[in-house]
């Protein structure tokens, strides 16, 4: 698998593509894009059968090790790779360490290990154990192990420790990757630690991006994952991401994890980030909401997001979005989804998830189109206007309550 940039210049934002994929020779997955978020190997609420109904193209599913670690022993005996095991064999897999949708508990460090908060409690993982699991999973892509336990408030000591750990992990993972037969075709991404400190980031980049085996990088350590990431304002990671992106070799694919809101995503794209994930869709779905922000010029009444629990939808027999082509909008009404979420039936989040994922994928299509047409700033303005209006509305509701 190769990551190829469209155009040769150093310009950002950028369009790229994953090509020459072993399992799908003709396939090209364009960036900027979002990997499908999974938990325990499943796209939340969406079975293989439903996935086949709603998605014709192979996609990349992100497999956080924290929610799949309990399969390691099983996978060692299983005659197949992780995508087959989790029932999504048409998808490409990318193994990550932490779960972007769940808060990663800070602290609990141990020398040469990172704490992994699995279903059955804390597991202290070192690079050898991590690579054993990756080898058992045989993913199409994976990140090297990293210590990403930093955020905007982290102390210098924690930051330098995270870089030290990540660099040490890098060396072991690289060595293991070189020796590994089953991983020889896997696409490798190294992780860059260093919190919000340029010096630490620089040091880490120098150590973990030089090798040719490394095809992409994960900018780790910007936050501790989970729902709070949605509310991180762009100003917070702006300068550090800018620094990192400028310092990085341009041919490597750049990934940022987490439930970033679409406005921040657009700004990160503008800085040259290539890959995100759909954990944000999950977050929106879990609060019984549907993404409705428009990508084109919009009227002031356009709602950014609607919450289907609200009584106003009880007799609203229109789809979530009038001309949305997703299965939920083609076949079901807001009134029905309102009913399902109020009586807590499983079909409610399933339909919302179908719509939200579809909407998010369309959003990324629009991003790529806007980059090609040089209209990304316009798209950003449109989305930001809706997002800000929605935030104001939420604040007002809070204030009146």
């Amino acid at each position: 698998m190769k990551f190829i940039l469209e155009g040769l210049t150093k310009c950002v934002p950028r369009i790229g593509a994953l090509k020459e994929i072993e399992a799908h020779p003709g396939l090209s997955i364009e960036t900027p894009m979002a990997m499908l978020y999974t938990r325990g190997g499943s796209i939340p609420h969406i079975t293989h059968e439903v996935f086949k109904i709603i998605s014709k193209e192979p996609q990349i599913i992100q497999i956080p090790m924290v929610s799949t670690y309990h399969y390691q022993e099983v996978m060692e005996e299983y005659d197949g790779n992780i995508s087959e095991f989790v029932g999504l064999k048409d998808c490409l897999t990318c193994v990550s360490v932490q779960d972007p949708g769940d808060l990663t508990q800070p602290g609990h460090h141990a020398k040469d290990h990172i704490p992994l908060w699995t279903r059955s409690g804390k597991v202290l993982l070192n690079a050898e154990q991590y690579m054993n699991t990756v080898e058992a999973f045989k993913p199409d892509m994976y990140y090297f192990l990293s210590d990403g336990d930093t955020n905007a408030k982290s102390a210098t000591k924690r930051i330098s420790k995270s870089v030290e750990n990540t660099v040490n992990f890098f060396k072991i993972c690289l060595d293991r990757h070189r020796k590994s037969e089953v991983l020889k075709n896997s696409f490798v991404l190294s992780a860059i630690a260093g919190g919000y400190c340029t010096k630490a980031r620089k040091k880490c980049i120098n150590e973990v991006t030089k090798d040719d085996i490394v095809k992409g990088v994960l900018i780790d350590g910007l936050h501790n994952n989970g729902p709070e990431v949605e509310f991180i304002a762009f100003e917070e990671p702006k300068s550090i991401v800018e620094f990192i992106v400028n310092y990085l070799p341009e041919d490597k694919m750049r990934v940022v994890q987490g439930c970033w809101n679409p406005v921040v995503i657009l700004k990160l794209v503008r800085m040259g980030i290539d890959v995100f994930d759909t954990s944000y869709c999950n977050l929106v779905t879990e609060r019984s909401s549907a993404l409705t922000f428009n990508f084109d010029n919009v009227s002031e009444t356009q709602q950014y997001e609607i919450n289907l629990r609200q009584n106003q939808f009880a007799d609203d027999f229109k789809p979530i979005i009038e001309n949305c082509a997703c299965l939920a909008c083609r076949k079901h009404t807001k009134a029905y989804i309102h009913h399902l979420v109020t009586v807590q039936e499983l079909l409610g989040p399933l339909l919302l998830k179908i719509h939200n994922n579809y909407h998010f994928m369309k959003f990324f299509e629009k991003i790529r189109e806007a980059i090609r047409n040089d209209t990304l700033k316009d798209l950003e303005d449109v989305v930001e206007r809706q997002f800000m209006a929605h935030q104001r509305m939420l604040l007002n509701t809070k204030a009146t309550n």
Binding site: V50, E73, D315, K331, Y336, L346, L350
Partner: protein, 408 residues
Amino acid sequence: MSALKKLVNTTKMVTEKCPLVFNVLAECETTKARVGKMCLPHSDVDTPVFMPVGTQGTLKGLLPDQIDSLGLQIMLSNTYHLGTRPGPEILEKAGGLHNFMNWHGSLLTDSGGFQMVSLLKLAEINEEGVKFQSLNDQKSEVMLTPEHSIHIQNAIGADIIMQLDDVIKTTSPDKDRIEVSVHRTTRWLDRCIKAHKNPNTQNIFPIVQGTLYPDLRELSAKDHVRRDVRGFAIGGLSGGESKDDFWKMVHLSTGLLPKDKPRYLMGVGFAMDLVVCSALGVDMFDCVFPTRTARFGCALTMTGQLNLRQKNYKKDFRPIDENCTCSTCKTYTRAYLHGIVTVQTVACHLLSVHNVAFQMRLMKTIRDSITNGTFPEFVQKYFLNLFPEKDYPKWIVDALNAVNIKLL
């Protein structure tokens, strides 16, 4: 073993005046089992049929497309739940439940009475209806009358609707009270028929009551048979009575009901019961069990149940059932299901698909063997498979004996 008796097939059609046409297509020579086609306003239904329960206007998280590919022709919804939420006004505005949930097959609704008596503690029954305390407002008492039940069922718009009956605990020994309930159930039937606003599109089924008293069941059936209805439900069973009492009452009831109309045994759906009661001449079944048990990680197979939570499935790379063609068995191993049951909602969807597919397949096997004239052999093989040591439960041996099948 048995030569097939083909019936002269004078296929009737669903006309605007008759929303249910039932044709018996084949009868078993040995037992009382029969294969039929029931033509309803929304779809044809092959009987004997198992109807999965989609309580609140959805079948356990399955998309209409998935329900279609399972070959489902009819499902059941609960009037009590739908009458509470979304409520009859919304359902009327939506143009009925079919539209609301976007399901184009047939639907059947219960009367809501049973749910009230079983869900609500302070239910009290008098001639007017079922009185219960509202869940929303502790102080107010609400009355479900036959008219009210039909009003909600008309708003839902199911192809088959149930009369409100006077539900009594199946094991109640109070024969006087049961006799009252039998007469009251018939009086309520007449009130339901009178209140029914859509006789051209919805079929109302009376419910044969009488719990475990043969004379009272006979009385109930005879009263109901005289009414102008197109099918019958057998109620008051599956309520904790002994299996011995259960099969005898089913056997008695199917014997009392006319052959040319479908017979629906309420609340029965375990695989063994489906096989035995098909032999006793029942055409329709419903049960929450297959979908409810899915939530707890339980998968149904021809030889019993698998509880996928158990550790022994951790490295079991076989599908739930090698012979099952459902989308779950085609894609997922027991090992993966073991890893996600009761943790990921996906597991619940996957097991629901399999369990409904299992019920559908069992019913198809029953229908095909009746049509082919091999039903008795199928029954023998089915139970030998379940009880290889031949330690058959006595009630099964007796019930099958009553319809001339001797287990091997």
